[in-house]
Amino acid sequence: MMAKLMTAALLVTASAPALAAPADPLHSPMWEHHAARLFGKDAVVFDQRVAVRIPEIAENQRIFPVTVDARALPHVRRIVLFADLNPIPVAVDYAPTGAEPFLATRIKLDQRTPVRAAVQTEDGTWHVGGSWIDAAGGGCSAPPVSRVKGDWADHLGEVRAGQWPEKAGETRLRMTFRHPMDTGLVENIPAYNIERLTLRDDSGRSLGEMQIFGSVAEDPAFTLVVKATGAISFEARDTAGLRFPGKVGA
């Protein structure tokens, strides 16, 4: 009996495609789907060194703050922030080319979901952290406040930014952009969002490249820590090709 079962198990293992991802400690119904799509055959580990810091309550499902801090990991190549049960699961895909593996922003939540960061190190391994958060519906599928108020176009692309010294040779950078970040999931409002953010130092060296999706909150805000001081320039670009540039420390 036992032998038969083992044979069956072996057969199943042999015939199923190799799944690199380990079992999900959060028991998300979407884990295997996202893991296969995001990580392919790369190695995946759940790793406490990926700190995903979120409040204990989703007070506003349209603006849910998330901080990802993977500074305990060496040689980070990429950070993917995602919420398993959002209709647009990935919010941000960040390559901290000349920056610390640190990112704070706000996302929309469409229901109770795990919120996670997958952090890829130089060896190709993905280190994953995160936790569940309860949320009311409608973060992604209700119109943004500025659409309801009707003033989104009056403020489109307004940029605010500030910089603060972090540790030696590093700068903390905060940027906010007025943008409706339409998900395309609201009737008669097509998707329209900031889709890219790039950062450079004064010599033109890339400090960070970020892909941004419609599940990032309206009027997006980003906090990053770049390995540079002095003048830092950045530019966001939206899906209509509009560019929103800025410079701090000039």
């Binding site: 810091r53 409040p55 007070e59 706000r106 009311a136 930014a161 906010t176 906090t223």
Partner: protein
């Protein structure tokens, strides 16, 4: 073998019960504490609204009069309102003849569903708030509280309250039309006993919540409450205040939150970092402090960023 069967039976008995345990609400069992002659306080749980507490987190007050009991804040749901009404009947020997809603928030207002809207009174500003937000609150409460909310519809108060003296059933009240915790905050002084029912303008040993707060208005309202002579104060949340400390404590927390979030933006922190900042030891007696700080971050932060981050 015998043991195994018993274990199975037990498992069979327990499993369905556990599986459905969350589907059905319990019964509200409000308890009254007499705090003055003909005046009782009903304590809410000093917690966040949740299924476990049925949303019964706000304080209510019951006042005996010749024309029936006065119920100040009727709870979160129809069943909650009914339980408070039954309690008022038991304590005063008379049915509820007048309901006051201190402000729009669902833990204070939605229990009005248990009463004839004609006897439910509130500030006009509160009725306007409920017209705007009532259905949204109702959705949120049904999601969180499910069966506890059964039969609860949004009831708009029919009676307008205005600032000044009021008499009901031979009992004299001083009504105060305030704002700051929300767009309309009613406070009631029972003149015979000097008991001030402060609604959510005053929290006591429970961190204040700020979803509709205007802090300058709130502070001005606290000034007015402090200037109104009273012996006892029933806060919207937390224990009875006998020594006048709750107004100062509420003011202290609001000032600290405002300054802390201002500084957090000025120092380049993002929202989740601001919500993790240390809470000073002087607030160690405040329940739900971390929870309310994080809620306040959500309420105030984007506006502070728009004010303090330089525009390029």
């Amino acid at each position: 073998m015998k043991l195994q069967r018993r274990a199975l039976l037990l498992a069979g008995l327990l499993a369905p019960a556990a599986a459905i345990a969350e589907q059905f609400a319990g019964k509200y069992n409000p308890l009254a504490e007499q705090v003055a002659d003909g005046l009782w306080m009903v304590r809410g749980a000093d917690e966040a609204i949740g299924f476990a507490n049925g949303g019964a987190i706000a304080n209510s007050a019951i006042i005996a009069t010749d024309a029936g009991a006065v119920l100040f804040d009727p709870g979160v749901s129809r069943e909650h309102g009914r339980a408070l009404g039954a309690l008022a009947q038991k304590l005063t020997g008379k049915a509820v003849g007048r309901v006051y809603i201190s402000h729009l928030h669902p833990d204070h207002a939605m229990g009005a569903a248990a009463f004839d809207p004609a006897i439910v009174h509130a500030l006009p500003a509160t009725r306007a708030d409920l017209e705007r937000d009532g259905e949204g609150f109702s959705d949120a409460m049904y999601r969180l509280l499910a069966d506890w909310m059964k039969g609860t519809a949004v009831v708009l108060p029919q009676g307008d309250v205005t600032e000044g003296q009021a008499e009901f059933g031979g009992r004299q009240f001083r009504l105060m039309a305030l704002k700051g915790h929300s767009g309309g905050d009613l406070a009631l002084l029972d003149e015979a006993t000097g008991t001030l029912l402060a609604g959510d303008l005053v929290f006591h040993d429970r961190a204040p919540s700020t979803p509709h707060a205007s802090l300058p208005d709130w502070r001005a309202s606290l000034d007015r409450l402090a200037a109104m002579p009273h012996k006892l104060l029933v806060p919207g949340h937390g224990p009875l205040d006998r020594d006048g400390s709750a107004i100062a404590q509420t003011r202290d927390w609001l000032g600290w939150v405002e300054q802390t979030l201002h500084d957090a933006v000025a120092h380049g922190l993002d929202m989740s970092e601001a919500g993790e900042l240390p809470i000073p030891p002087r607030f160690s007696t405040l329940k739900a402090a971390r929870y309310e700080l994080q809620r306040s971050v959500s309420h105030f932060y984007p506006r502070l960023e728009a004010e303090l981050l330089p525009k390029l």
